[in-house]
C-alpha cells in the first residue's frame, strides 16, 4: 500500500516537472535554423549566377533570372526530356549536362541542395501543382 502511493506520488511529481521536453523548440532555435536555411539558399543563389557549374561559362541565371520559369511547384512531373516522372533535381542535372555542358550532381550533393533551396525560396507562396505543365 505505501509503495503504491509512493510510486503514484513520484509519477505525479515527474508529470509536473518544469524542464523542456524533446518536442518543443525554443524561438532562438527556430531563428537559428531558418538562418541556416537562408545561408544554404544564398549559396544556391551564388551557384545560380556563377559559371562554375558547367564548362562553357553559361550560368543558370542567364535563362532563369531569379529562378523564373523553373516551376519547382510543379514537380514531380512527367518530363519529356527524361521520359518519365521525375523530381526537380533530375531536371537541374539535365540543365547542368546540356546547356551548361557540365557534370550532373548527386541528389544529396550540398550544391544540389543549395540550388533547390534557392529555387524554392524564389518561389515561396506559390501553391503546389504537381504534374502540371
Amino acid at each position: 500500500m505505501k509503495f503504491r502511493i509512493l510510486v503514484g506520488a513520484l509519477a505525479i511529481s515527474l508529470c509536473l516537472g518544469g524542464t523542456a521536453q524533446a518536442d518543443e523548440f525554443a524561438d532562438e532555435e527556430l531563428a537559428r535554423w531558418m538562418d541556416q536555411f537562408e545561408q544554404v539558399a544564398a549559396e544556391g543563389r551564388r551557384l545560380w549566377t556563377s559559371p562554375e557549374l558547367g564548362t562553357n561559362g553559361v550560368a543558370c541565371a542567364q535563362c532563369h533570372p531569379n529562378g523564373a520559369n523553373t516551376h519547382p511547384e510543379t514537380y514531380p512531373k512527367f518530363q519529356k526530356q527524361l521520359g518519365r516522372v521525375i523530381e526537380i533535381w533530375e531536371m537541374i542535372n539535365w540543365c547542368l549536362r546540356n546547356p551548361l555542358e557540365g557534370e550532373p550532381l548527386a541528389a544529396d550533393d550540398p550544391k544540389m541542395v543549395a540550388i533547390q533551396a534557392y529555387l524554392a525560396k524564389e518561389r515561396s507562396g506559390v501553391p503546389l501543382n504537381p504534374g502540371q505543365h
Binding site: N56, G57, A68
Partner: protein, 353 residues
Amino acid sequence: MKRREFVKLGSTSLIAGCLPVSVVNLAFGGTHDDFSFAYISDSHIQHIKGNKFVRNWDQGLIRAVAETNLLEPKPDFVMFGGDLAQLATKPELDHGAEMLSALNYDVKMVMGEHDYYLDLGEYWSELFGPQYYSFDHKGVHFVVLNSILTFDDWTYDRWESGERRMSEMAGLDNPNGSPFMVGEKQRKWLAKDLKKVSSKTPVVVFSHSPIQKIYKGWNFWTDDADELQALLQPFDKVNVIYGHVHQIQYNQLGNIAFNSVMATAWPWPYPQSYAQAASHLPVLTVPMNRADPFDERDATGWQFMNMHSGRADLSFNLYSNQNRKVAFDHEQGHPVDASYQADDARIAPQKHY
C-alpha cells in the same frame, strides 16, 4: 523573280513559302512605298576560350543569317538589335561580326548592354560605327538609339575595371545593376533630329531597351521612357522596335506602337512568372509559345517587318515554335496577333507561360 510574277502565282507562291506570311498589299495613297526589312537580335555570342564559343548561341545566329538570306523578295536591309556579344570582348564581337558578314544585305546595328559595358562601346564602334544615328528610307524616318546607358556614377565610378562592370551589368537579375536610359545628351540630339521631320512622316525607333517601364528588376526598363515618348508624341505614326527582352511583347500607347523582337540565343521568362515582385507586361501581349523549353531552339528565332502605310507588321520566324505574326490593325488602332489575340484562341503553352 519579278514582282509581277509572284503576285500572279497567288498566296501559295514563293512568297508564302520563303516568308512566314504573305506580303501586305495595302495601298499607300502614293506617298510611301511598301517595303520590308529583317531584324535579327540578341545573339549573345559567348566566348569560352581560344577558338571555342558557346555552340548553342552560335547556331542560333548562324541559322538566322542563313534563313534571312533565303528571303524572297529581298528585304531592303537587316537590323541587328543589340547584344551581339555576351561580355563585349573582342573575340565575341569579332566572331559575331564574322557571322553577320554572311548576310547578303546592308546591315545596320543597334547597341546592346552586352556590347557596351566592357569598354563603353569603343571596340563596337570601331567595327560598326556610331552608337546612335538616324536615316531616311522610302519616306520613313528611322532613328537608332543607344538606350542602355545608365547613371554616370555607376558607369564611371563604381567599378574597378571594365570587366567587373560588364559582368555586373551582364546579370539580368543582378541587384547591383542599374536602370537603362537614353540620357539627356541623346534626348537633346533626338529633339533636334525630329525637328526636321514632318508629323505626317512615319517614324520608326530602334532601341535595345523597351522605351517603356515594364519590370525594373530585370531592366526591362528605360528610365526616361516618359520623356522619350513625349518627344515622339507629335507624330501620327510611330513604331518602337526593341530587343533585350527575348520574348514577344507588344503595346500601343497613344500614337506609338511598341514591338519587341525575339532573340536568336535564348528566350526569357515573362516577368509575371517571377513570384516575388510585381511587373507590368504590356497588356495587349499574347505570350510566346513554349511547349518544349528543353528544345535548344525553343522560343528563339528572328523576324521580318513589313512597312505599310507607315506601320510595322512583324512576322516572327521561330525555329521550333509556330510562327507568329503581330500586325498593326487599322480598325483597332494597335498591334494584334494574327492567330492568338482572342482569349479563346490561346493554346496550352501560352496559358502556361
